[in-house]
Amino acid sequence: MKKFVEESWLVLVMGVIFACLLAGTQTSLSARIAENQQRVLLQAIGEVVPGVETTEEFKIESNQVFKCLDKNGELVGWAVDASGGGFVDKIRLVVGIRADGREITGLKVIENLETPGLGNKIEGPWAEQYTGISTDLSLTVIKGDADPARGEISAITGATWSSRYVTDIVNDVLTRIRPKLAEQQ
């Protein structure tokens, strides 16, 4: 027993000190980290729902949904925070849906670790092609020129899978969340 204490006291003491140090850092920085994450989310909502001033947050199943209001308190649209598997790691995005629930008003990828230079183009102008697509359609990814009226999305060259994963997440939002938006009006 004496030998045990002699040999290991330093590890135990350091363990306790380091644990306190980490707890302190976590406590002092966690508010700031949460604020950063919230800022990215709100910025994305501003991009996918035009004219949004304030939001009311609620949950549909496991998704965070934001009811978007303009400065007069009129409903301008909905923003759904959704995520799903990607080619490399989880993809998280925000989908904007028009107030009547009939059209996608924008899509913004806020978290992805897709291949730099190929798959990570999902966070750029590529995502603009989702804007204006009817929510009644089931979206499909095709190579080459796409027809938005038929719910077609043109794949990123060299990143067809990343394009499909984003579209899968959007389809999931349209089938699972969109029909329940009307109840919240």
């Binding site: 040999e7 920085l29 790691d89 730099p116 230079g117 060299g158």
Partner: protein
Amino acid sequence: MAENGSNLQQFKEGVFSNNPVLVQLLGMCPTLAVTNSLENALVMGMAVTFVVVMSNLITSLLRNLIKPHVRILIFTITIATFVTIADLALKAYLFDVARKLGAFVPLIIVNCIIICRAEVVAIKSGVSRSLADALGIGLGFTMALCILGVVREVLGSGTLLNQHVLPRDFIEGGHTWVIMVLPPGAFLTLGAVVGVVNHLRERRAKGGAA
């Protein structure tokens, strides 16, 4: 290690003749993975420098208390603690870069450069020498990553620190070498840079003998 040579020399060795990446070829995982832009390379370099400085400092202060057969355990908990602190600090103050670096910040824990400095220098040397060593190694690591970061970002994206440096037609016309921001680009660039460094070292050695 005997206390030969000044602290300044120990510092210089880490940056040049004993550069962790270009000469010792350690820490290859972050070197290859996060050097697709200069910004990522710089932040990774700073994070590793912070961790190696703290780890060397604590190891050196406690060197007479650490029992030889638990030393690796002590190094590991020290490194893990400071890596976690660095990770939280990046998420709080450099959120955008932290998001790009993703899992590679927590993975600094397994960066062999850091445990190597604790084992080779800090456990046997005084505080000032250990700190000089850590700063040298940290700067050497950061410098090597930045060299790769500059080459890969300019050729692969046509930008530097997210500012356009190559003609617009080049970037928008799709003439950038996408391969440079992909993993093979990291190997190609590293190979070329290590080749140049070896060439210079060989020439220097010959020059010294003559």
